[in-house]
Amino acid sequence: MSATPFADRARIDAFDKVRGATAYAADVPLPGMLHAILVPSRVAKGHLATLPVEDAMRVPGVVRVLTPDDFPPPPEPVRFPNADAPPTLHREIAFRGQPVALVVAETLEAAMEGAEHVVPTYEEQTFAATKRSALAVREEARPTVFGDAEAALARANATVDVEYESPTQHHNPIELISTTAVWAEGRLTIYEGTQFASGLKEVVARILRIDPGIVDVKSPTVGGAFGQKGWVQQQTAIVARAAMLTGRPVKLVTPRGQIFHLAKFRPNSTHRIRLGADADGRMIAAHYVSDQQQSRGGTFPSNYHAGPSRLYGIQNYYGGAVDYRIDTQPPGHMRAPHEHPACFAFECAVDELAYRIGADPVEFRIANDTRVDPQNGRALSSRYLNECLSRGAQRFGWERRTPEPGSMRASDGSLVGWGVASGTYPALVTATVASLRISADGTTRFVTTHHEFGQGIKTAIAAVLLDGLEIDPTRLDIVLGDTTAAPQQITAGSWGTFSVVPTAALAVERMRAALSELLGGRQVSGNIHQQLAAIRRPYLTVDVSQLGPGQEAAALERLRRGQYAIAGPTFPEFTSMSYIAHFIEVRVEPTTRRIRMPRVVSVADCGRVVSPRTAASQVRGGVIWAFGASLREATEVDPRYGGFLNNDLADYVVPVNADIGEIEVDFINEPDLLANSVGVKGLGEVAMVGASAAIANAIFHATGKRLRELPIRIEHLL
């Protein structure tokens, strides 16, 4: 495969999207569909005393009310592949908002009215609502250690010792959480916006004690994934059970307010970081201990320090992690789940250290480059962070910056601050299979592992197929997220492109070989469809599979069983990471101190860029997420009551268009051919990483104030 840059192409699904024609899981029309609404627990912890359903059953249109009695006794906890399966309906209440019943009715209105008439009574228990509650249980994870951080800190020339905090935050994609289930002819079909159709198939089967072989899952297009839909959601098996019990299709679309207690969320975390630099301005030590809010049984990892440990060539490192187990639903992945809070904290601390020793924040970072993975000494497959920093600095005009905090002003009197930060995210890959069929009738069908959720994976696949094969682009059908078409793997962690693009490239190569064999040297004119028609071949199919570098073949088997089949970022011969540098201007109004972000320059090293348009869009989106995470979003907990208080879009403040200034995106676009044949790494997550630190560093530069707790709000600068 040549390494010439890919052309800029429109999104393959753009036309459908702007026409509203794209079908999401909840859009699937099914005859005889019933509608469902969950009844959430009012208490934060306790036991269901009574659960009367008679009043709800009297509401005209209500067909059935599912209660804990409608589920098989809780099986052995389903730990699959390596996390607890979500509970179904239970009498033990573990958190506010936990579903206690599901009302199924002929209409949505009847289901809602029925749900209001289910009024359980509870035996309440005391609970821990936050990390700081007396009933929180502290649990320490094993630290990552290399070198001797304490000793190096003791001999360092300059040190910082700072603590940063990132709040609880919730995903709020426009698409609400939904499940539609159909039980017909001995098969269970689930339509759901999920990032892991095969995992869902396996887990729901185990929860309901049915054979996974009779379960099909279809995740057509997901309206915003980002980790919220990465693991099996709480409602899925409940809705599936309702379909089995009623024998009719059942659809649940959860109201926005319930999602705050039903879905995964970014846990509140605190990051204490000590850094030391030697007399030459090289960082020699990092001591990083984080803690996070965790549910009683949650398995969301607490190792925030993993990303920053690979950002620079720091030889002495201690990374510790603590969970505080409290009474909440399990936290989980939310875009750049660890790397965003970690690089916020770490890259602010780096900025503080640069200021302490009087170094320019860009030069300081460049001077701390590494060619190897400091964790294990392995070579890096590619690393262009310094190029990101220097190109970004140039595009941003960094040389015009005066370092003194508060030294730059706009004509309207606003304080101007320029901040920089870097980010990194592991380059990961999964075992992947694909099948490519080109037909004489003019159609092409490419079926593969992985899911589309707007990140542009189909557009990237199309770029490879259309570059390598003469086929009709308007009749190209790319099928993803469907367990009836191909075994599915969780699509997350920016490994979608790394996984499917080289697989698509392999399919192209095999297809060309198969075609030339078929033509056997004959000269047949026209595109591939026409060639097939000319030789009276209805279609030609190739099947391929692909593993990550050095990944063992057993991963393909795990893929087929719906288990995790992921590799990286440490491969046998090297470590692979993506990188980014963000340059951000903020303006702080002189009187009322509103903070604005008129200008951003972000330069990413994600290997080769396959789809320039969707890639740039990912970076802009990542920066906007970081803006929201830094200056807007926090889910509030009143410790007296537990649960989340601001559970709607009016009170959970996400950014609006008017908040966002110019975001200029650039790519290094150097193929990483050690990683895979096309040279791609990942982008979706790294896009966000570090941007929050760049914002906070810019605010420091504007005002001289180090604000170490997100979100930064107007009151912090008054």
């Binding site: 209001e116 009143d638 009551y641 709607d648 403040v653 908040d659 107007i714 008054l718």
Partner: protein, 334 residues
């Protein structure tokens, strides 16, 4: 979800008659942007909806003569973009277009706007008995006091409720000494907009002074030259589509750089649209300097009673007033 009847009367008289006949649980509905929202949250549970939005010619905007008159059904967006309002009364236009979103402003009426209910999170998100709230369930207590009170009021609060009066438009109207025309079972009456709102006192669930079945038919604003030197300055948690953290409606009568008379009302900080005579007095007859503007701002908050997390509103509110005074004063006289 609760069954309700629904009718669309053709005239205000019919609407008031229908309300009287419907009795218990009747509500007028206009744009529905507040009422439907509260019904979905199970806070409002009306039994009869009397939809006044179909009343013909009930949305006129009159700008001739010595007053502005807006019939109750005029859309927020229509009043905000009326050329006379936009030119001569920026305080009114800005209070409308800085509220909600364009879609909402197209639906919402200037009459319904006056009767929107608080955005206190414990009020809105607690139906089903999770959070005590005296406004929702009289006598149950107030979760906001001693709780997450960043958004709560610092002026006009009581020991039973600290909820902010959320609207922007009423604040501008109170600054401009506007009044409303009301039609009820006993005929018509008129009252200052300022008198429509009650302090929470010991009965926070009683928010307005309208009698049951009374309908707002129009809003009347006396014309004044001060309109041109006016602004509605709104500070919020994001650049658009949010309620005010602090806001100030300001209109100035100036003689050169001297303030003859200032009208100042505040939003986002008080339990009702809050006229600030203390601030107005500081300015009367004085040269407007940045220091004086801030002193006026501070005077408005002399009696503020902040809670745990909303103390910043006192300083921010004062600076908002100061900035609003500067913006208004900079506007040309003609």
């Amino acid at each position: 979800m609760q069954p309700f009847s629904y009718i669309r009367p053709a005239t205000p008289q019919e609407a008031v008659g229908a309300f009287a006949q419907a009795g218990e649980g009747a509500r007028f509905i206009a744009g529905g942007t507040t009422l439907y929202d509260l019904m979905k949250l199970n806070i409002e549970r009306p039994r009869h909806l009397i939809d006044v939005s179909a009343i013909e010619g009930f949305n006129r905007i009159e700008t001739d003569g010595d007053r502005l008159r807006f019939e109750a059904n005029a859309a927020m967006s229509a009043v905000a973009t009326d050329p006379v309002v936009a030119r001569d009364y920026p305080v009114l236009a800005e209070s409308l277009w800085k509220a909600a979103s364009q879609q909402l402003r197209n639906m919402a009426t200037v009459g319904g706007n006056l009767l929107q209910r608080t955005r206190c999170m414990y009020f809105r998100n607690g139906a089903g008995g999770i959070y005590p709230c005296n406004k929702r369930e009289p006598g149950s207590g107030c979760a906001a006091i001693g709780g997450l009170d960043r958004g709560q009021a610092v002026l006009g609060t009581s020991d039973t409720c600290t909820a902010v009066s959320p609207g922007d438009w009423p604040v501008a109207l109170v600054a401009m000494d506007a009044s409303i025309e009301v039609l009820g079972p006993n005929g018509t009456r008129s009252m200052p907009v300022a008198d429509l709102y009650r302090l929470p006192d010991t009965t926070p669930h009683v928010e307005f002074t309208l009698d049951p079945g009374e309908m707002i038919t129009a809003i009347v604003v006396p014309k004044t030259l001060a309109g041109r030197r006016s602004t509605y300055h709104k500070i919020r948690d994001r650049e658009s589509y949010a309620f005010a953290l602090t806001s100030a409606a300001v209109a100035l009568e100036m003689n050169d750089d001297r303030v003859e008379r200032a009208r100042i009302a505040l939003g986002g900080v008080a339990t009702r649209p809050w006229r600030a005579p203390e601030a107005e007095e500081v300015l009367a007859g004085q040269r407007l300097t940045p220091e004086l503007a801030l002193a006026a701002g501070r005077a408005a908050f002399r009696d503020a009673r902040p809670g745990r997390h909303n103390g910043f509103k006192v300083e921010l509110g004062a600076r908002t007033i100061a900035d609003a005074l500067r913006i208004a004063a900079d506007r040309s006289r003609t």
